[in-house]
């Protein structure tokens, strides 16, 4: 029971810490606005940092060397991530591609074109997005209605064998800036819904792909809707085989929850630092017993998220499967409650979102307006609790009316 690195891990940590210190991009010249995600200046810094990491072998540490990785362990990758976070370097542009989508492509696709996508992504030259959710397929991620039909079969002398995609996707993070995407489609509506889906990768500049940013309640527009109209792509861009779509979804989503659940952003230090500055009935907010009670509850939850990552790491280093679960739903809810609490103790002044006036450049207010999305993206609270109940506690799945029914016969709205 200890938090210490073994000698090998300690040596690795020292090495990467020094490397990060010597190579970290200088962000001191960026304005608060330029430090926000998806601002071109922010993205440029992220890209520069990713390329530096790739040159030094730190971009995809646990990948095999053949794929541009360092052939390192999951522990080394985690140590590097921890050191990056320690240095305040947290960029999210490349994780969708590198941690969720490309591993699936690397596993299933052997052709040169598919393989050639990897090095550019590793260097941060390309950004990927996932095209999974649909207007009528959110939590029910197998309810995909976006259709892919095959244009004949060149083997039997008719058509090109290309696939033609039609449909709409939504909540696609970063799609507006993305170079590539992975799309889940319905390829056989006569099969039960989990069986008739297939995945493809595609160039976001392919004719017929139209991306429209969605303005969220926080004012941000990093989420998008994507319309696919007669989008024609070669059969070689199918990820896995026809009908493997659900398998691909499951692998990528479990990776997403690991990424989303790792708990980044504002923490108890930011809260305490502010609470000390804000006057209260007597003294500062920090001295208020009700606030201190709340702070204790918040701390044990947020500390647990940090500590659970150490348990995951321990399991990995012992060659055991990490049990996980719970961290994502906990983090999302904690963040929402924390921002609301901070606004509350600022009292009337808590209303101000203007970064030029509000404490911490309005970070708490901005996070407050983002928080509902944290409880929805990457598996809603309700889905996460179903997963905990069914996969960890072993409770039965819901009774389903869509089981074993051909997809085209499943009732749906609108």
């Amino acid at each position: 029971m200890n938090f210490e690195d073994n000698p090998e891990q300690a040596e690795y940590r020292t090495r990467v810490r020094a490397w990060i210190e010597n190579n970290a991009p200088d962000m001191s010249g960026l304005s608060p606005d330029e430090r926000r995600a998806w601002h071109p200046a922010h993205r440029a810094v992220a890209r520069e940092w990713q390329a530096a990491k790739a040159d030094a072998g730190y971009a995809c540490i646990s990948w095999p060397e053949d794929w541009g990785g360092a052939g390192g362990s999951a522990i080394e990758a985690t140590i590097f991530l921890q050191e990056e976070q320690r240095a305040g370097l947290q960029f999210m542009y490349f994780s969708t591609g590198l941690q969720m989508l490309l591993p699936a492509i690397m596993e299933h696709n052997r052709d040169d074109l598919s393989r050639s996508l990897v090095p550019a992504a590793v260097r941060g030259d390309t950004i990927w997005c996932q095209l999974f959710s649909e207007p009528s397929s959110g939590s029910d991620s197998a309810g995909v209605r976006c259709v892919a039909t095959r244009d004949g079969d060149p083997g039997s002398g008719s058509g090109t064998g290309d696939w033609v995609i039609n449909g709409q996707k939504v909540w696609n993070s970063g799609a507006f800036h993305a170079d590539y995407g992975m799309v889940i489609t319905r390829t056989d509506p006569d099969l039960p819904k989990h069986k008739g889906m297939s995945a493809f990768w595609l160039d976001m500049k392919t004719p017929g792909v139209e991306v429209r940013p969605i303005r969220m309640m926080s004012g941000d527009n990093e989420l998008n809707e994507v319309f696919l109209t007669d989008v024609r792509i070669p059969a070689s861009q199918m990820v896995g085989s026809e009908g493997d779509g659900w398998k691909v979804i499951l692998t990528t989503l479990s990776n997403e929850r690991a990424v989303v659940g790792s708990g980044t952003g504002l923490n108890w230090r930011d809260v305490v630092a502010l609470a000390r500055e804000v006057p209260d009935f007597d003294g500062s907010v920090m001295e208020d017993p009700a606030f201190r009670e709340w702070l204790a509850d918040y701390y044990v939850g947020s500390e647990a998220i940090r500590l659970l990552s150490y348990r995951t790491l321990t399991a990995l280093s012992r060659g055991e499967a990490p049990d996980g679960g719970g961290a994502k739903v906990l983090w999302a809810n904690q963040t929402q409650e924390m921002t609301s609490q901070v606004l509350d103790f600022l009292d009337r002044y808590g209303l101000i979102e203007d970064p030029a006036i509000a404490p911490a450049n309005g970070a708490f207010q901005h996070r407050f307006l983002w928080a509902p999305g944290l409880r929805l993206g990457g598996g809603s609270d309700e889905i996460m609790k179903n997963i905990i109940a069914e996969r960890i506690l072993g409770l039965p799945g819901d009774i389903r009316v869509d089981k074993g029914v051909p997809f085209r016969e499943i009732p749906h709205g609108r």
Partner: protein, 379 residues
Amino acid sequence: MDFDYSDDQRALKDEARRFLADVSPLSVARGVLDDPAGGLDQALWSRIGEQGWCGAAIPEAYGGFEFGYVELCALAEELGRAVAPVPFASSVYLFAEALLLAGSEEQKSSLLPEIATGSLIGTVALSEGPGVLASERVATSFAGGKLTGTKLPVIDGMAAGRAVVLAQGGDGVQLVLADLSGEGVTREPVSTVDPTRGAAQITFSGAPAEPLGEGGDGLAQLSRIQDRAAILIAFEQLGGADRCLEMARDYALERYAFGRQIGSYQAIKHKLADVFVRNEVARANAYCGAWALSSDDAELPLAAAAARVSACTAYWQASKENIQTHGGIGFTWEADCHFFYRRARHLGLVIGSQREWKRQLAGCLDAKLAGEEAERLRA
């Protein structure tokens, strides 16, 4: 990085679980509940003593077996799971730790060997009335080697042979060591919400006693003792909370309503998923506490408060939702659910309520941040 039990510790824990399943089924706790006169199961206490568990963290020099603190945490988790009706917490987490932290060489040498085998039971006598423990609410006095006053409740006060008592001495409150079987001590049982752990009202009328170690600030010493006990008790709470979740899960699989297992309804699934998350929070913080305890880390007070706050929350939630999941049957005397509901409350108060610990936790965070800021300024 090794943030889990080691293989040896897991083996010890598995062995303890098998042992307790054999010697401490819930029928043993029920025996004490139905006939709470002694406030413990003497036969079970003897069996636990034979295992050497009471001396798990006591150094060999004082007759202990020195397995280690993480090992003691593992045993605590299993004892909590079994809701064992024994004075283990009072004797081992509180009394033995008080002696180890503050006792004189002579006190340690004479008492710890008997504590280690279980032949002597120790406890702490602190509270005198409602409300948070504070020096102005300690009326019991210690002067000229004599102790006078009434302590209520004293957990395991009927079974214990010795107690560490909080009393007003010459220079404020201090900890003193009293022989409960000696002259000037009268005690009578007090019924509590958890009769499987006995309690007493103890009146000292000029009872002979001696300062614990060198004396000193009693509340500061008590705080250090309780920090260590809080971590060990957190493991008992965690074991109990886990068992509640398993009981609720098993019942939800077995019970049918409206033609289906109640565990297939999201109302039940989501409730139990919430319990699972709270238990995970408690587990993570308890493990951190175990690390702090075994390495005697400077952040022990913070780790202890976090372990305690999260364990109190988890056990309370798990024990009440276990009854809720069982429905009416869970509310009966005959069902086992109430053992955990009672024990959750008992453990949640026995070393001070969550309110006290939350206060400590916030203070630790304030100090930690100030320390980090000072260090940054120096650098």
